[in-house]
């Protein structure tokens, strides 16, 4: 490990943190925080739910960018796919489910089925779109995914099949569940928050498993050098295709949650400017880290909220993120997570060696933080 020993009290404090505060305890603390948040102000619950959804969106996107080196400008397609799948099922099949399972639990059943339909729709689209897209690399991959996204956008607003309700989008009404005289609204902030936490944490865990599997290890190698990977017998295109599908599915789940949170599935979700949100969050957070997109989404939403507190600045929040994006790419590609790890090294001396979850980006000239343990470390706030 290359980090220098800072010695003295600070060092001791650092090792105390390392010894006493295990991952499990941090996990417990995080879970407690999540529960406490449910009793906070309504707007804060909403904002945090929003953050979780965007975090999952960016995490799904980065599976492709950070782990195989393909920059998609069309992941809005899958975000919208999940949203529209849910919205169409709720609109068209809600009454059918009420007949089958009874009106009491029908809204919940419809929501779950709608979510699964959204996911299935996304996978069905991602299989051919991914198969075609991974034939290309670099700029050309960015362009073809952008084009696919915009095809989706065009079809949704022109609505040739009469399914998507054009530019207005589809209203998403989640309804109320009545069981044994108790009734609760699925869309109520606390309820929806709890649901989102569970789904997002499960999805993040799933992604984490994939990233640390033999498959994920091969992906990291592809990110580093595709031709070297091929020379070792790895079918690079096939791997990228598989990653594309998983990445789209994760984004699709985020899209389902987005539709429920916003109460609408709107065509804007497919637009390239929505796909760009995942790019911004990921790059700011640090594409080289598993937790980069999550931290990036946190920064994106909370700084935006912070800016919105000042009405004169509020109209120009994009300016700030434009400048931040440029600054990060030019001077500190490790992003916010890289910065935090660097800070931790400075404060606590030698970093603890962690798992090996982070892909690393070969961007020459980009600032990289200290030791290898750090670089591959995953201890961002998963929660």
């Amino acid at each position: 490990m290359s980090a220098t020993d800072t010695g003295g009290r600070v060092r001791k404090f650092g090792s105390a943190v390392a010894d006493g505060w295990t991952r499990e305890r941090f996990g417990l603390l995080g879970a407690l925080g999540l529960v406490l948040l449910a009793f906070g102000p309504s707007f804060q619950i909403y904002l945090f739910t929003d953050f979780l959804v965007v975090a999952l969106f960016a995490l799904g996107f980065n599976l492709l960018y950070g782990y195989t080196g393909l920059l998609s400008f069309g992941h809005g397609l899958f975000y919208a796919g999940g949203a529209y799948g849910l919205a169409i099922v709720l609109r068209d099949l809600g009454p059918v489910f009420a007949d089958v399972v009874g009106s009491g639990v029908a809204p919940l059943v419809t929501f779950v089925v709608g979510g699964l339909v959204g996911l299935a729709l996304v996978v069905a689209v991602a299989v051919p779109v991914g198969w075609l897209s991974v034939r290309l690399e670099e700029i050309y991959f960015a362009l073809i995914t952008l084009a696919f996204g915009m095809i989706g956008y065009s079809l949704i607003i022109q609505d040739p099949a009469g399914l998507t309700n054009g530019t207005d989008g589809i209203i998403v009404l989640l309804g109320s569940v009545d069981v044994g005289g108790e009734s609760f609204r699925i869309g109520a902030r606390q309820t929806y928050y709890a649901l989102t936490v569970v789904v997002v944490l499960a999805a993040i865990y799933g992604v984490w498993r994939v990233v640390n599997s033999p498959f994920g290890t091969v992906c990291k190698a592809i990110r580093e050098s595709p031709d070297r990977a091929a020379a070792l017998g790895i079918d690079v295109r096939h791997h990228r295709w598989m990653t594309f599908i998983i990445s789209a599915a994760i984004v699709g789940i985020a899209g389902v949650l987005r539709a429920g949170l916003a109460s609408v599935a709107s065509p804007g979700l497919t637009h390239w400017s929505t796909s760009a949100v995942a790019v911004i969050a990921t790059v700011i957070g640090g594409a080289t880290y598993f937790s980069g997109p999550i931290v990036g989404a946190f920064i994106f939403l909370y700084i935006r909220w912070g800016i919105s507190r000042f009405p004169t600045l509020d109209a120009y929040w994009e300016l700030f993120f434009g400048a931040l994006l440029i600054g990060v790419v030019l001077y500190f590609k490790a992003g916010a997570v890289g910065g935090l790890l660097l800070l931790r090294d400075r404060l606590f001396g030698e970093g603890r060696a962690g798992g090996d979850d982070g892909p690393t980006q070969g961007g020459g000239g980009a600032a990289e933080p200290g030791s290898s343990g750090d670089r591959a470390d995953d201890r961002g706030d998963d929660s």
Partner: protein, 297 residues
């Protein structure tokens, strides 16, 4: 009733509109294609620069001198300076990175946001229109329909820009440096070409073209902060179909898309706006070098 009502599918005015739409698209896309052809940079902010050209022209016409041509020139040069500054400050440091292409795309996307917000800050969110130069501010009747004479002028201007650029690239010393550097950067560098300076110069030229496009198209469109985001996608379609880096490719691609936009809706109603994107996908998959490859061709 004239002949065109008997042949409802294609009227003369549709063709003129198609050609003028295509001309505008060419003016948007040609600088993007030039920059990609020489530097290998896909400039996401190109649409923003185009928009900036329209705004500067507007500002000069209304605030400084009421002469459209001078204003357009001022717009083009101002945008050229902004473009050169962007290249110098934010794109040049990235050429040697392994991920240069994607990093440059992301950085220029950052400038999309910055230009958008700056324009909103200076000119507000409303939309403006610019009058065509007085000389051409009249209507022409052709084949039973009427359109502004300036549409014809734009078609002529687009052809003039193509011809001028072609002469510049094939007949001047600077043009030969550009061609040499675009085909083999390292060789050009070894032969004593100051490649970084040449890159900045080409980025300046490409940005001037963006600004000029925005300025000349200003009378045909309403200028608002959303303009940049709209046109960059059109520009991507055009340069991909024509061939990234090709001038004539950009011209033919632009005319194809222009005619498609003008005539297409009469043939296909459902899903028609998806067609250019579909064409883009097909070209990328089967002919990634575009229908017309290579710079200066």
């Amino acid at each position: 009733m004239s002949l065109s009502s008997l042949v409802p599918l294609i009227g003369v005015s549709d063709v003129v509109v198609g050609l003028s739409l295509g001309s505008r698209l060419f003016l948007i896309a040609v600088g993007l294609s030039l920059i990609f052809g020489v530097l290998g940079v896909l400039n996401f902010a190109h649409g923003g620069l185009y928009m900036l050209g329209a705004y500067v022209t507007l500002a000069v016409v209304t605030g400084v001198i009421d002469n459209f041509w001078i204003a357009a020139l001022a717009g083009a040069l101002a945008v050229g300076v902004v473009g050169a500054a962007i290249e110098f400050a934010a794109i040049r440091p990235l050429y040697d990175r392994i991920d240069a292409d994607l990093d440059q795309l992301i950085v220029t996307f950052g400038f999309v946001l910055i230009i958008h917000e700056t324009v909103r800050f200076v000119w507000g969110s409303g939309s403006y229109s610019v009058d065509p130069p007085a000389l051409f501010d009249f209507s022409v009747s052709l084949g039973g329909s009427t359109f502004g004479a300036y549409r014809l002028v734009v078609i002529g201007l687009a052809v003039a820009v193509l011809a001028g650029l072609w002469l510049f690239i094939t007949r001047t010393y600077f043009g030969s440096l550009v061609r040499g550097t675009s085909s083999d950067r390292e060789m050009a560098s070894m032969l004593g070409v100051d490649v970084p300076r040449l890159y900045t110069a080409v980025f300046f030229l490409g940005s001037v073209l963006a600004g000029l496009g925005g300025a000349l198209s200003a009378p045909l469109q309403s200028t608002s902060p959303a303009l940049g985001d709209q046109v960059i996608i059109d520009a991507f379609i055009v340069v991909v179909i024509g061939g990234l880096g090709s001038m004539t490719g950009a011209f033919v691609g632009a005319m194809l898309i222009g005619m498609m936009q003008s005539l297409g809706p009469q043939f296909i109603s459902a899903g028609s706006i998806a067609i250019p994107f579909l064409a883009m996908v097909i070209v990328l998959l089967f002919r990634p070098e575009g229908l017309f490859g290579g710079i200066g061709e």
